[in-house]
Symmetry: C2
Subunit: 351 residues, 2 copies
């Protein structure tokens, strides 16, 4: 008994049994015009009797189409999970399938991309970009590329992203509306998107007449980097802070709370991304949400337009983010001049 025994039924087998040519069988199987009802009937019957199923690979090889969209994403990023979820839904509605290729700590973007290219995807949707401009150029020469979620400036690739500047505007305006003035920004370091969010911060502060309060603390996209930034903050804390993303904000929350600051009473915090972490009750982060559903729909639409050669629409599509208020922001209470109550009751020094 072996698993390998099955011999596969081919078009030729069906043709032989129906007494017609393979070409005719092909026409019947694809349900395209060009065969008489009588032939159709005989071919169908022969196929059914033989248990014939067309070979997708061979069909693709010949016709040159796969209806496959390659997706490069990071398994470690919760937000990428949300995006992949949306992409599946959008692709399905459009009659395309997804071919996933993950980046892991040991498998970098280049490997992930090269893996998915072997699947002969008709377009690539890339959720993260560390590639150089040159690599992107090279890639875009081989296949239409849509970058999802990152503000890559590149004439050869399409971009679908949320409006990072506006997102931080929302964060700052929210805090200003709560009475805060001393608002810092913990940035994302060299991460893609970080520059836009910094800029959004500066713009919003300025627009609110707070250019004198502007202060940007170097952070990064991970919990550890948010924690490090928090330590810098503690010397002379602001009353509110907008953080590059939720992961970083989580690390920051950790440190400031352990240092005895109460959130949001002593410090209001706004994150970015609205990832699964932010939802957790214990973190319950006020944050800026990207519209994953809209973005994924747009990315798939753009990819298909590129594949099917629609007239070139704009190379960049920007969606508006929105604020999700949870429990890490609160109105500024009177001047914090009086000594803080018992906020250091589990600080580092014993009484």
């Amino acid at each position: 008994m072996s698993r390998t025994g099955e011999t596969r039924v081919t078009l030729a087998d069906v043709a032989a049994r129906a007494g017609v040519s393979t070409a005719l069988v092909s026409i019947v199987m694809r349900e395209v015009p060009g065969a008489s009802p009588a032939s159709r009937q005989r071919v169908r019957q022969a196929a059914a009797e033989l248990g014939y199923h067309p070979d997708r690979q061979a069909r693709l090889l010949r016709s040159g189409r796969t209806r496959l969209l390659g997706v490069v994403f990071g398994v470690q990023y919760a937000f990428h999970g949300d995006l992949v979820t949306g992409l599946y839904a959008a692709a399905e509605r459009s009659g395309y399938e997804l071919s996933l290729s993950a980046m892991t700590p040991q498998r970098d973007e280049r490997r992930a991309i090269s893996g998915v290219l072997s699947e002969r995807c008709e377009a690539l949707i890339v959720l993260s970009v560390n590639s150089t401009q040159a690599e992107l150029t090279e890639l875009a020469r081989q296949v239409p590329v849509v970058v999802l979620g990152r503000n890559v400036r590149h004439r050869a690739v399409d971009v679908v992203r949320n409006d990072d500047r506006q997102g931080v505007h929302l964060a700052v305006d929210h805090l200003v509306g709560l009475g805060h003035r001393r608002i810092f920004h913990v940035d994302g370091g060299r991460s893609p998107g970080s520059a836009d969010r910094r800029r959004g911060y500066r713009e919003a502060m300025t627009r609110n007449g707070l250019e004198g309060e502007i202060r940007i603390v170097t952070g990064g996209p991970t919990e550890a980097e948010g924690a490090a930034a928090a330590r810098l903050l503690l010397d002379d804390p602001p009353t509110a802070v907008t953080v590059f993303n939720d992961r970083s904000a989580t690390g920051l929350l950790d440190v400031v709370r352990h240092a005895g600051l109460r959130v949001p009473e002593d410090l209001s915090v706004v994150g970015y991304d609205d990832d699964r972490l932010a939802h957790l009750g214990y973190i319950n982060l006020t944050t800026i949400a990207q519209d994953a559903s809209a973005m994924t729909k747009l990315a798939v639409t753009r990819a298909i337009e590129l594949i099917e050669g629609e007239p070139d629409a704009p190379g960049e599509t920007v969606t508006p983010p929105h604020l999700v208020q949870r429990s890490t922001t609160t109105p500024l209470t009177p001047p914090p001049s009086s000594s803080p109550p018992s906020s250091r009751d589990h600080g580092l020094l014993p009484p």
Copy 2:
């Protein structure tokens, strides 16, 4: 200017540029013996310059082999991310590639499986199983199946999993070693693995002479279910609790802390999985870690054995878990008879 002009780079193109035959290029690309180092070098270079990627469809069509392992996983599960990471590494070492198919809230296991089957994978590695026995049987008839991480009892599929019972033994023994006696278990409801962990809990409690203290609270695999279980616990809290998994434990932590219980001083908590959440400083959960690296290596090895028709080894491989102590467990302090200190200082009632 249209994008559709791109002509695919084929083996023949590479051969032409390198000035050799396509057969030789094929040899080099497959990294099989039969080419001189000099040729290898030239071919590689030509391929790189042209941006060549082998066409999997054509390769399969010709050789009848894909060297592709299908992986069905959940995008939302952090631990699945860890497993996928390990699978990539293991597959790569074995000369196989992975074809990922994700389960999302809208795309269930059946769809994910059927999607990956059309890629003509030679074996399937399934990270979660909600399928019925009948579905599994049917699936296993089409392709070798390895279930990773779940204790599925099925004669037709291979299983690689950690020892859930022993894992909970470790958790209970750890707590008992810290002096705890009143130890509850929040289970995973109907989740796969939940029964084993419940059983492990009962066994360990009994072995420690604590059968009288056994109490199992109904929970589930998500934060929300952990939180719900926590509310049940609050009426008459134990001094320690082992929870089905880290996600659930996180929800539980949230509720008990907001209710004014200090962790670990008032309540020690042990999770399961050691997922990314558990590492977070602010959660910093003591937990039972599954050896993802070993498990993924084993799963890939088993899958390949099945493909290549090795003599049938045992159908189940079980790896030992280990305890990772972080900061949610602590020795039991004297009898909790005196009124709890100021543990309710951020509770619901103003002083």
